[in-house]
Assembly symmetry: C2
């Protein structure tokens, strides 16, 4: 039987994730598997929790990787904290806000969506007005909206909620490791991310953190969490002092995440963020020189996810296909309402280097000229 | 900062999972990450589905890996098929049957458990009687009860349900790849497994299959699946012809699973099963020579999970600790009602080799003598 794995090529990953993976992380993934209750493994797990706290800027005890992709992190956040009938406000300006709305509705939440134009940020004034009119058990926002490339004002929304009983839920799937995440300073009560964006680890885990306020809401539930796999009251017993078996932790993926975060801490988060910013600036300049326009206004742009308007008369899919087949570069297309209208160019983690930007711009120029 | 990954030792994994991983699978895990919507990756995914069908002996179109561990497979099976009020019968003779009961109850199922002694199999006569008294939307059973080492008569229960409207749900987490699994011949409607047992891939994925009868029940639901992450109606659109983005597939773990199943198919499943049987026979003989007794009667024993009674006066935990620290061997302790009373010795996948059994028996002899 032919082994298709042997034909895998090195692709420059400049889509919305996964991003390029550093060699050290590949090596980590293939370290010898040991037991998920082995004392040596538990040391690694303990240190991983501490490293996650550092990049999230939180002191929360329950700061762990969830055994699923970033979307499992979203599911875990909502399924543990939403009880049927709970009023939930989703601040919505893209596909991942819509997903929050769907997730919370399925769980029986009474969900209001406060919508903003896709490509523009959430406006704190409108949120403040809404919060004066209604009270909510949960307010949810996406920090880095991967579908549009917009950075939402998570700190400002957090200060509106300061001192209230409302749980503040923040999605940092695309931001963590690429721009600063300050969970505690933002008054965020629950926060999750994914591994395959700016952490530069393959997809499969969701870094996750929950503070004591959110834990109190969880412990005060009238009914059991309707999801055994993601029930944090049990998961906390595995990751806590007791080490009670719940499910078998994904050992080798956890090695990969450990190594990925170690690399960020060794390089220094500030340096990593600067790498993202500088690569982004170079990309934007190069795109403008090619006559292309960014979807998002300058102050709200994410460095790691660049939404570029497809020029009139250009077949966006054929450009992407040409980049992939001739130049071995992956970029993303638009999602939802923006399908066919934008390209999404990722500059995430290990990908965020000037030489990658230069290689991409040269390739894009050729791909556009050939049209 | 010290990198703890550098201190990971090679441990002979003879617990209830994870099992030893072949070198080819480690290599596969560290192949270059490519996009989860990349055409080349989709070829790999397509072939992986076909290989899963072969080892499960099913023709079901929806035969895929779920992006979570074996427990996520259980969650996916129940959350998609149980609607509030559905009557569910769980055939229960160990911890994983209990887990099914908990999972189905959280989802609003009306759950009956038909209990059998832990260490003895489910009895088809008792099940037949129960099915004459009551009708159920779902009947659930664990093929290989990992907590006791019992093989349950899944084919016999399946023939009781033949032609009925009842959905037959089978857990093959510990059996798949070590003994024959014949999904279609058993009349199983939904079946799942895990990667870290007899497939010898690190934990992180749940092979899963659903037939048309189960899909019809899913499509006929009155309410959306209350779990966005595991909603098979959406997951099927990614793994099907349309390739609609749902969540980012765990690319490198999927490489590992692809390679692991390829190795089984290349060796030949019959040969793999014989390796398990022969290693098991040698283990049982060696244990008996040491004066130890098996928990389970001979006809119902699993080759890959051997429950051994801890002799009176022996501190089971200190024996396990000695095996781990002095001999670099992991075995498991008892779970639930059997905690402290049994050891669980895994002979799973790549671990199932005569030299491993011999090394373990020699170590156990020493560890017991030193007590």
């Amino acid at each position: 039987m032919k082994n298709l794995l042997e034909g895998i090529e090195d692709i420059l990953l400049m889509g919305p994730g996964p991003s390029c993976v550093p060699p050290e992380v590949y090596s980590a993934l293939s370290r010898a598997t040991i037991g998920h209750l082995d004392p040596y493994f538990l040391n690694i797990a303990e240190e991983l929790k501490e490293m996650l706290r550092r990049i999230m800027n939180t002191r929360n005890n329950l700061t762990i990787p969830i055994s699923g992709t970033g979307s499992a992190g979203m599911e875990a956040a909502f399924v543990n904290l939403v009880e049927p009938g709970d009023k939930v406000l989703v601040l919505l300006n893209g596909v991942f806000g819509m997903r929050m709305q769907d997730v919370a509705t399925r769980l029986g939440g009474t969900v209001d969506a406060l919508e903003f134009r896709w490509g523009a940020p959430v406006e704190p004034e409108a949120v403040e007005k809404k919060l004066r009119q209604e009270s909510y058990k949960i307010v949810a926002i996406v920090h880095a909206e991967t579908s549009t490339g917009v950075r939402n004002p998570v700190a400002e929304i957090g200060s509106l909620l300061k001192g209230s009983d409302t749980i503040y839920l923040v999605d940092t799937v695309t931001s963590l490791g690429g721009i600063e995440v300050r969970m505690d300073d933002w008054n965020a009560d629950v926060l999750y991310s994914g591994t395959q964006k700016c952490l530069s680890c393959p997809p499969g885990l969701a870094p996750f953190s929950l503070n004591e306020k959110a834990m109190a809401k969880l412990n005060g539930r009238k009914t059991k969490v309707p999801n055994w796999y993601l029930d944090l009251t049990m998961i906390a017993n595995y990751w806590g002092q007791n080490r009670v078996y719940h499910h078998t932790a994904p050992v080798n993926m956890l090695y990969g995440l450990y190594q990925a975060i170690l690399l960020i801490l060794e390089e220094g988060p500030e340096h990593v963020f600067r790498r993202h910013r500088e690569s982004h600036m170079a990309l934007v300049q190069g795109l403008q020189e090619l006559g292309l326009n960014m979807l998002v206004d300058e102050p709200y742009r994410l460095p790691m996810l660049n939404a570029v308007c497809v020029p009139e008369g250009v077949d966006e899919l054929s450009v992407r296909r040409r980049l992939r087949s001739e130049f071995k570069i992956e970029i993303g297309g638009g999602l939802g309402a923006l399908a066919g209208k934008i390209w999404r160019i990722g500059i995430m983690g290990h990908t965020a280097r000037m030489e990658n930007v230069a290689r991409f711009l040269a390739a894009l120029k050729e791909a556009l000229e050939k049209k």
